[in-house]
């Protein structure tokens, strides 16, 4: 009972709003250049979050090692009798590792001799440690190239599409129809099951219904919404206006947009990638 009126209110209020807009546009903006402004365009920034933590630089690594040694020397010793059974294998392993670490940071003179009664310690189970770039190596073998979702595992990568006619790289976008919201347009026409990217093979979600950026070209406005992909990949049908897709990081997007002469688009879009405006040089 309580749900029914609420669901009734929404369409009627949006209808009223749309009617008001239509009324106001016909009455007030008719003297402007065009009485029929171009439809809004909703565009999607579909990204894959970083999969790995960034590799520490040489400076960071040295700093972490140094802080760890300082912390080790300042902290009170571990009450081994509480945490280990006396003479147990974990205790002997701990004492051995502790002595090795102390020798490493304090030197042999201060670390003292080897602790007694360590005895023989059987080696621990060895696990296979995959290299950090194992995805890249695998995808290289399979020849996936730019279509691999695991490109640049330490960075965020974004989806770009290549259009059929001009061979230009663009963000997936769609026109917004009347009485349609931005997120509806994107859900229906881009990442939905019948959308451009074919949502059936993709696990993706929209971060928010609000746009995160806008690009103005004359009267044409393009609103950007942010989405993430977790798995899968877009499949482009033969009837679509795009030929292929690519997962690119920010530097590659900049390169590509600049190369194809879309510098203006890049300048208006780069804020969404966290790149600040260039400071105006004083002449």
């Amino acid at each position: 009972m309580s749900i029914a009126p609420r669901s009734l209110i929404r369409p009627s209020s949006s209808f009223r709003r749309a009617a008001l807009q239509r009324f106001s546009s016909s009455s007030s903006s008719s003297p402007s250049s065009s009485s029929n402004p171009p439809p809004l365009i909703a565009s999607l920034l579909l990204s894959r979050a970083p999969l790995l933590t960034p590799t520490p630089t040489e400076l960071e690594k040295t700093y972490y090692d140094y802080s760890r040694s300082i912390k080790h020397s300042l902290s009170s010793p571990l009450p081994t009798e509480f945490y280990f059974k006396s003479g147990s294998l974990p205790l002997r392993r701990y004492l051995k590792a502790e002595h090795e670490y102390e020798t490493e940071i304090y030197g042999e003179r201060l670390a003292g001799g080897k602790p007694d009664n360590i005895g023989d310690i059987p080696p621990e189970t060895e696990y296979e440690i995959l290299p950090r770039n194992h995805w890249e190596e695998k995808d290289e073998k399979e020849g996936k190239g730019e279509k691999s979702l695991e490109r640049y595992p330490e960075e965020e990568v974004y989806c770009l599409l290549q259009s059929k006619d001009k061979k230009k790289w663009v963000f997936p976008s769609t026109t917004v129809e009347r009485l349609q919201s931005l997120d509806e347009a994107i859900n229906d026409n881009i990442i939905g099951p019948n959308g451009q990217l074919d949502g059936k093979g993709m696990d993706s979600w929209l971060v928010t219904r609000k746009p995160v950026g806008v690009v103005r070209e004359g009267e044409q406005r393009t609103f950007f919404l942010r989405g993430h992909i977790l798995a899968g990949q877009p499949t482009l049908t033969s009837s679509s206006i795009y030929t292929s897709h690519a997962w690119l990081n920010v530097r590659e997007i900049e390169d590509r947009l600049r190369k194809q002469g879309d510098e203006k688009i890049w300048e208006s879009v780069k804020g969404m990638f966290g790149i600040p405006e260039q400071e105006v040089e004083e002449s």
Binding site: Y64, S73, L74, S76, P79, F82, Y83, L110, G112
Partner: protein
Amino acid sequence: MSATPLRSLASSASRIPALRRASIPPSSRYASSSSSSKSSKPSTQTSPLPKDDWTLPHIHVGPTHASRYSQHYHNTLSSDLMYMTYSHRLAQKPPKPESVQPPQTAYEANRPRPPIMRGNRALRTKTTQIDVDNVPKLESVIIHTMVKEAIANKSTLLSAIMALRAISGETPNGGGKKGSSGVEVIVAKKSAAAWKLRAGMPVSVKVELKGDAMYDFIQSLVDFVLPRLRDFPGIPLPPSSTPKNSPASLTGIVSFGFNPTTMSFFPQIESNTDAYPRLHGFHVYFKTSLRGENAHEHARTLVSGFRIPFHRR
């Protein structure tokens, strides 16, 4: 059972500089602090410094590793949270000028102001304004355990203290880190005759985690504990009938409890579960920077970004 090791731990909790400590033979290293200062004599004899004038200078201990969940927050979560919680309506509203009255007396000058009352009730909490510089973030995580048996027998608190120490790795100013209060014992504020509780009795234990220690706790909770809970549907959400402006919904604190068996799934406790006389259930409080309207919802959004699932009953 664990009383002896606990006592020896309390007495050896002194911070001896590494150079002196390392010179102590391993057998006497874990003895009390008084004996360790005696046995450090040979090193002070060889050092050119006068014996008693030398004090440990202030040493800054920086981060010891890149915390995985902290990186996840800064690289992925924070921008999404900003977009999710940003309110265009709030941003367009001009900020209200605060009615600041000059302090009347010297007593008032350096004290926090009492809340401005409207009639009998304090005014509504001010809503946190979200923008690029003020993205919702986790301020601290508090783990809290109330031990009912401690009313009759204080020493039952010891196993809870040790368990929280093992889970959090915090000691007062541990590792030279200022500001970490370590595991604290909480005393009852009020008497409750029905439970034979009198004011001033130690009844519970808590630890507050901040910074990287906080993110590391979340990591062990999310990666080791939650996946192993039996029939765990997620943290129950409050019923939808909860009023939106109730005091609990205006504070950006997300809290939930776990039963005693949960504690045994922490890898820090699992390795020597039999050293603890008993395991305790505990509450976890995620304290966020959010206040006011929608604060609770947004705080839950933030917490769920750390892979903590929620479900509606």
